[in-house]
């Protein structure tokens, strides 16, 4: 496979084969983000598709000010949050990954049981708390950025994070 920079340049020139290789390189990272933000396996597949369709439209606007993966990550967060705003779904979800082996395939450590429990607990969080927790604790965004991305006040982001951590600790202690 060609180096990442070369793939991006070729994709920007309209090379669909290079774009497919970009998909292969980044699909796991994007899917993980979508899965955790939506808490639903089917939604995560749809959003992952949306992200790469959007990427095909927008890849020419990537100008290399940040790493491509960072830029794509931000694009993916926006796609997922915009989709949630558009559909207005608010019901609480549980993880419904059709292939339950998806999570197990990515682990090999002795802590895998805890990680799987944690993934399920995250998926079961209320939408608002889950989004803030995933963006802050897993993805490393700042509250100010989350506030802008999600469309909430910075104080609300902090409160949702506190709530998410408390709920997770309670769930994992049961």
């Amino acid at each position: 496979m060609a180096p990442p920079d070369d793939l991006v340049a070729r994709a920007q020139a309209g090379d669909q084969t290079a774009f497919r290789d970009l998909y292969r390189q980044h699909a796991g990272r994007v899917y993980a983000l979508c899965l955790r933000l939506t808490g639903d396996g089917r939604d995560a597949e749809e959003r992952t598709q949306d992200v790469f369709v959007r990427l095909w439209d927008r890849v020419r606007s990537f100008r290399g000010e940040s790493a491509f993966s960072t830029w794509l990550h931000r694009l993916a967060v926006n796609v997922v949050l915009n989709a949630r705003r558009a559909t207005g779904r608010r019901e609480q979800r549980v993880m419904t990954v059709e292939d339950p082996g998806a999570l197990e395939r990515n682990r090999g450590s002795t802590t895998e049981g805890l990680s799987i429990d944690l993934e399920r607990a995250i998926a079961g969080l209320p939408d608002g708390a889950r989004e803030v927790f995933v963006l802050y604790d897993i993805e490393g965004y700042a509250h100010a950025e989350i506030a802008e991305l999600v469309g909430i006040a910075e104080g609300t982001s902090k409160a949702q994070l506190f709530r998410a951590r408390r709920l997770l600790r309670e769930k994992l202690e049961r």
């Binding site: 669909q16 998909y23 699909a27 990272r29 899917y31 993980a32 598709q49 990515n106 951590r165 600790r169």
Partner: protein, 328 residues
């Protein structure tokens, strides 16, 4: 489970999870359908172009301006006191005294708070070029847009927004300070440039440009050495002082210094940088010393990521400044 155990468990979660099935065929089909639809839309191009031209004519018939709000006192727009709100037109000067403040809406992409004792002019207000000139004083800018849409010109160079929040100060001599509180800003003149990410500052000098940026908690001797290097012909002596006092947290400064020192000193700077923050895979000493963009960008990505994590997780987790990983 306590808070620390939860953090540790979160830290072990995988960054990547493969989708349960190959999504590429569906993505490819959607891309191809969109391409076809776009080609069909070409029939409408003449009509669309006419509509756009009419729109452009209408917009251009209105003078470009931004909304302006008084926050305190009575700021002046040119020589007229501003009421509660008003408009700042291209070419207008906004001036605050020691007790007045104002808020400028930067088109639809952000806002600038103008602090007391500040003089600022609206230079351009188009969709692709939102531009102010800061003659003196202090502004707090916050912009939510794609990079390179918002610019602030100062006597020391131009601050170029890369999606960020920052405070920019310029004194009456044109010297100043840029402090980035979100995202990243590029500051440049014809000869010099600096990348200033969240949690970093750079001093600026009229007709010279930006100094080497440093992090908020940089040690005072390092800042003095950098100022001597950038603005007082400190040369090799200042470089050696900076290298001696730099910590892993100061990799941002050494990364810039590497590109500014005489070629003979680049090896020295690189070796110190590599000792403080090991280079990521793919970055070579030879490439970095030759200032190859691939090596410099690779190093930058790592340094930027570590700094970002340190800033975002400040007070939540201890971050190893050499690697960016959580300290256990």
């Amino acid at each position: 489970m306590n808070e620390k155990e939860l953090h540790d468990a979160v830290g072990r979660l995988p960054k990547s999870i493969e989708p349960p099935r190959d999504l590429w065929p569906d993505i490819e089909a959607r891309i191809n359908r969109r391409s076809l639809a776009l080609r069909r839309r070409w029939y409408w191009i003449p009509l669309a172009a006419a509509a756009v031209l009419a729109g452009v004519w209408l917009v251009r018939s209105q003078p470009a301006s931004w909304d302006l709000t008084t926050l305190a006192g009575r700021p002046l727009v040119n020589t007229t006191p501003l009421a509660a709100s008003g408009r700042l037109r291209v070419g207008d000067w906004l001036q605050t005294d020691d007790s007045s403040r104002a808020l400028i809406a930067v088109g639809r992409i952000g806002q600038v708070e103008v602090r007391p004792e500040t003089r600022v002019q609206l230079v351009s207000a188009t969709e692709s070029d939102h531009r102010l000139a800061l003659a003196r004083g202090t502004i707090d800018a916050k912009v939510d847009a794609v990079p390179r849409l918002f610019f602030v010109e100062t006597p020391a160079g131009t601050a170029i927004d890369l999606g960020c929040a920052y405070t920019l100060h310029t004194d009456s001599l044109g010297n100043g300070l840029l402090h980035v509180t979100g995202g990243e800003v590029e500051f440049q003149t014809g000869q010099r440039w600096a990348r200033v990410p969240l949690g970093a500052l750079t001093q600026t000098r009229a007709a010279v440009g930006p100094g080497v940026p440093y992090v908020e908690d940089a040690p005072e001797p390092l800042i003095r050495a950098l100022v001597a290097f950038d603005f007082a012909n400190g040369g090799a002596r200042a470089t050696r002082t900076a290298l001696a006092v730099a910590r892993p947290h100061d990799a941002l400064s050494l990364w810039h210094l590497l590109q500014r020192v005489d070629p003979a000193l680049r090896g020295l700077v690189y070796d110190r940088l590599a000792a403080l923050v090991p280079p990521p895979p793919g970055v070579t000493r030879a490439g970095a010393i030759a200032l190859a963009s691939r090596d410099l960008e690779g190093y930058w990505t790592k340094i930027h990521r570590i700094l970002f994590r340190r800033m975002v997780l400040k007070g939540v987790r201890d971050i190893d400044p050499r690697t960016g990983t959580t300290v256990r």
